[in-house]
């Protein structure tokens, strides 16, 4: 078997593409994302579908299997980790976790016990990235994290992302990013 099958569904959540179900457009309209991450909300509402049509990224909706509420979403796209070596530009193949946000309106996300971000990352995003890497060859999962200490810390300590040393960070450049990614911090991990 060249590519082993992959099921992203867990017992309690289903994963769908934007247009998999007629209810999804309504769910997307009701999606809200505070925490100074309005860009993530706008992306889902205004850009995600265009990016899918143009083959720029793929967005996944994670829905509560029982209530069908939209719990969170994430987008993946292929990317290169580019840096300059003397006068040459070198690229390493990677997958970018381009967007990842929990829906404020998902009632369960408000509970003290809620660790839905970690759950989705471990149970859905990483297995999917691993699966994709077996098809196309990509060694790293990357994020461009908003430059907020707390968020960077979360990606580092909880989700296992690394940062390059400060003087090397500047050498990783050239990504075409949406406006809200401006000044974001490049982080990466082995798939």
């Amino acid at each position: 078997m060249l590519v082993p099958p992959l099921s992203l569904e867990t017992r309690d959540f289903v994963v769908e593409h934007l247009e998999d179900s007629p209810e999804n457009l309504q769910l997307i309209r009701a999606f809200t994302c505070s925490n100074n991450a309005m860009g993530l909300e706008l992306y889902l509402k205004q850009q995600a579908l265009n990016d899918e049509d143009n083959g720029q990224s793929r967005t996944y909706l994670v829905k509560d299997a029982l209530t069908r509420e939209l719990a969170c979403y994430f987008s993946l796209r292929t990317c290169l980790i580019p840096y300059e070596l003397a006068d040459r530009r070198i690229n390493l193949s990677a997958i970018e976790l381009a967007n990842f946000a929990v829906n404020d309106n998902y009632r369960r996300s408000q509970r003290a016990v809620a660790k839905i971000g970690e759950y989705v990352f471990v149970e859905i995003i990483r297995p999917l990235a691993k699966h994709i890497s077996t098809c196309i060859g990509a060694g790293w999962l990357c994020v461009f994290a908003l430059p907020k200490e707390r968020l960077i810390d979360y990606y580092k300590k909880k989700l296992g992302f690394s940062r390059l040393p400060a003087d090397k960070e500047k050498l990783v450049h050239g990504h075409v990013k949406p406006d809200y990614d401006k000044d974001c911090i490049f982080m990466y991990q082995r798939i």
Binding site: R108, V113, V122, K157
Partner: protein, 61 residues
């Protein structure tokens, strides 16, 4: 098509950014997995409770 000469490959392997990235150990997901487990147990329990309520409601109708 990319052509790698031996000189370029040598230079890449000596490059510090390349080495830092290549030598980065696999992510430590201990904390994430622990939290994911806690959440998985909790959400399963919540769903069980809600399914029971739905069943009871269906029976009483």
């Amino acid at each position: 098509m990319r052509v790698f000469t031996k000189e370029l490959l040598d230079a890449i392997e000596k490059d510090e950014v390349y080495r830092v990235i290549m030598n980065t150990p696999p992510p430590d997901l201990t904390l994430a997995r622990k939290d994911a487990k806690i959440f998985a147990r909790w959400i399963a329990q919540e769903h069980r409770k809600e399914r029971d309520i739905l069943k009871r409601q269906a029976v009483s109708v």
